[in-house]
Amino acid sequence: MLPNDDGSADNRRMIRARNLTRNFGAVAAVRDISFEIKRGEIVAFLGPNGAGKTTTIKMLTTLLKPTSGQIEVDGLDPASQPNEVRKRFGIVFQDPSLDEELTAQENMEMHGALYQVPRQVRAGRVEKLLRLFELWERRREPVKRFSGGMRRRLEIARSLLHTPPILFLDEPTLGLDPQTRNQLWLQVKKLNEEERVTVFLTTHNMEEAERVAHRVVIIDAGRIIAQGSPRELKAQTGSATLEQAFLALTGTTIREEEASAADQLRRMAKAWRR
């Protein structure tokens, strides 16, 4: 038997996008992008604000229908088999997604029920994850009393509860302190190495991308402009760091992004809480 003959099924593609496009009215958020992600890969999507990272994640996770193009997640089409696709991934959204009136434990238990995690293992897993992200002591407090970092940790813990084979992390470390960031990436790497979880992440932090990602995809104005390992991208642009490579590829102009109505309301709600 050949040494690398661990089966084509094991190295199969987990995600494939072909000529994926999404328009919002006259604005094209994602323009004709194609990419593939293999099982067990950690891929980072990097791009300036408004590049189309979140829109891409939303299309891959059944939240948004593409204007045109095809998607396959573990061989399934999100448009025709959304629930089968949804069983296969966990997601940490860019913006909050917890029920603030419920406690940490209740948020976890609700997720367990929504994902039909068997009752026998649910309590044990909830405890393990809450301990891992150091929330166990405060599990009975409503989330509205949690700091930003604690909420983030809870969202990350929650996304792992149903042991998904694919993990989407949309700027997961935004607003986290270095300790929590470190803990998050250690966990992600561990899951990736031990259970071959496929990870699709977006971040603005180039050091993080360089540290965890096997492959980096750079997207700007809805188009993929470069992809490869961090080393390849640095070599390609003759840069010392991934950050320099990123700037060389995407330019140094600052992008304007319009706030949606939801962002505005969220800001108002935040102001009210003070």
């Binding site: 059944t62 939240l63 629930n83 959204f93 997604s97 209740e106 029920a113 409503p142 109505a261 309301l265």
Partner: protein, 248 residues
């Protein structure tokens, strides 16, 4: 089933934990009961119609149900804005279960609020016509709760932000209440008004409640039940359709 239950339970937990809401949503019907009930009472009496307070009690129970259930449906917009909606939208279960759980949760909360308000009315001196008709009153309270919880959820699914909120209160909720005959008898109305009251589903709810609590009926109990059940089925279908189409 588990998913419907967990979404139902969530609504109830949120309700129990927000005491301000429990008390706040009783303030308006209570004001109507005291100010209108006793303010217009003497005139109503002189017209030979009996106690106005007792007459509007079923209408104000319906008002409590209407407001509570529509608001819990519209809470969907809050979930959208505070982000929790996404968590339910990526869950690998039919969205029908999720919206059903929400609607039943909203209807349950409305039912409890209606019950509390009925007790308030009893404390204020209201007496029902016959105790035996009380189960009929509960049936109509449940139906009103489901109809308007589904209506609120349909609105919440169709709107993406709270901008249209004031508009809905002014152009939908208040007209539904004032055209329902909650505050006045439906007999001998001007033709145009009579037409509008017939188009308002709440009229049939108020009528059913008035039958069971006051012992008087306008449309007839069977008509009341059939119309409300049909509207409930229609709005359940509409809200689950709109909810299944949400993209964020």
């Amino acid at each position: 089933m588990n998913v419907i239950y967990i979404m139902w339970l969530r609504q109830l937990k949120r309700y129990v934990r927000s005491r301000a809401r429990v008390v706040g949503s009783l303030a308006q019907p209570l004001l109507y009961l005291l100010a209108m009930g006793y303010g217009l009472g003497p005139i109503f009496q002189r017209a030979g119609m009996g106690s106005y307070r007792d007459f509007i009690t079923p209408g104000l129970i319906a008002m409590t149900l209407l407001f509570t259930s529509v608001f819990s449906g519209i809470e969907l917009i809050m979930d959208r804005q505070f982000g929790f909606l996404k968590e339910t939208l990526v869950a690998p279960v039919p969205r029908l279960w999720i919206i059903l759980g929400r609607i039943l949760g909203g209807a349950t909360i409305a039912f409890i609020q209606g019950l509390i308000f009925l007790c308030v009315c009893l404390a204020a001196g209201f007496r029902w016509d016959s105790l035996g008709a009380l189960p009929v009153a509960f049936l109509f309270m449940a139906l009103i709760g489901i109809v308007f919880s589904a209506l609120g959820s349909a609105i919440g699914s169709a709107l993406s932000d709270a901008q249209g909120f004031q508009f809905i209160i002014g152009f939908l909720i208040m007209p539904l209440f004032f055209l329902s005959g909650a505050m006045y008898p439906l007999d001998n109305l001007p033709k145009a008004l009579a037409l509008f009251t017939r188009l308002d589903p709440l009229s049939y709810g108020v009528d059913g409640l008035r039958y069971s609590l006051n012992g008087v009926v306008h449309f007839g109990l069977a008509t009341d039940f059939i119309v409300l059940a049909a509207v409930a089925a229609l709005l359940l279908a509409l809200s689950s359709y709109l909810f299944s189409r949400i993209q964020v």
